[in-house]
Symmetry: C3
Subunit: 132 residues, 3 copies
């Protein structure tokens, strides 16, 4: 099963995976879609700006304010409820069109794996390609 | 059309549907994806933790604070704008990989149907299987 | 590649695209799914109520309060970080089942293209149809 493996290096980090996905597109696969799925409940997948890196850092700062790490109401003993919330809000799966053997992304779009927990090794994203 | 039917029993409830999905995987279907789609505008679908039940209850409590049921600005006469907002934020559709005839989920992942409105009968989720 | 092109006319606008999608369903395509993907980082796709228009306007008003356009912490020079955040929260992709050559939507559901930035011309949504 085609899989992308990532070692995240900081808390709440968005990592560009465009190249990692394109490296997995099977030879001869021209037109269809690519389905991405993260295997973790404290990470997510999204598409957003690849130009100004302030977009990604603004997003991370805003989300930390919106969903604080510490909250007296959280009961989850591991203490990372905020990461679980962001995982669901960003979502665990994405579908991206493929044409001429390449991801069909807008000029400013890149695909991001989002780490919402502490840095972790061997985060895994499953990639499925389906022809149309 | 393969369909999962659910009677929700409380306001803002996350119901594990792993087993219900796996029961619908066609015999002989080995590798591909499963597309889920809820037919309602006050429910959603997500993937999150299946271990500590406090994760799900923390999420429900946090989301009730973030998107209050009562808000002087809401104009929708039915009074359930909060449920519509959560439906869009969690999302109506999910795509999950299948390998060896089983959902490919991480150790701590389960698929949840999320009721955001009052308890309702016959909530429906359409399930489509596509081979890769 | 089947594409829907939209000129948005106001800031934070939800535009019903049911008809535009159905016009693209290939002749003879009966059963499968439809994948939608927006090519922009300040727009999103969602499914929500098509009956009372107050649902959509309540959602837009609430989201403007939740994610303010002006925030002293934003560093992105273009000044539209709020639009990027909403794009990720609503999501760039959607998958909708098709049966008997028609979108399988609930009674109250419609598909919306969501403009989160200023009005813009030629917003593009790629549409892929895959048979099951």
């Amino acid at each position: 099963m085609p899989t992308i493996t990532i070692d995240s290096t900081s808390h709440t980090q968005m990592i560009n995976i465009d190249r990692a996905i394109e490296n997995l597109i099977p030879k001869g696969f021209t037109s269809g879609v690519c389905h991405l799925f993260t295997l973790h409940t404290t990470s997510g997948l999204t598409v957003n700006e690849n130009g100004d890196p302030n977009v990604v850092s603004d997003m991370n700062i805003f989300m930390k304010d919106l969903i604080p790490w510490i909250n007296d109401k959280y009961e989850h003993s591991e203490g990372n409820t905020a990461a679980h919330l962001k995982s669901t809000i960003y979502g665990p799966s994405l579908t991206i069109p493929i044409e001429n053997g390449r991801l069909t992304l807008g000029t400013w779009q890149s695909v991001y794996f989002c780490e919402f927990d502490v840095p972790r090794n061997s985060r895994k994203i499953i990639v499925k390609f389906i022809t149309d």
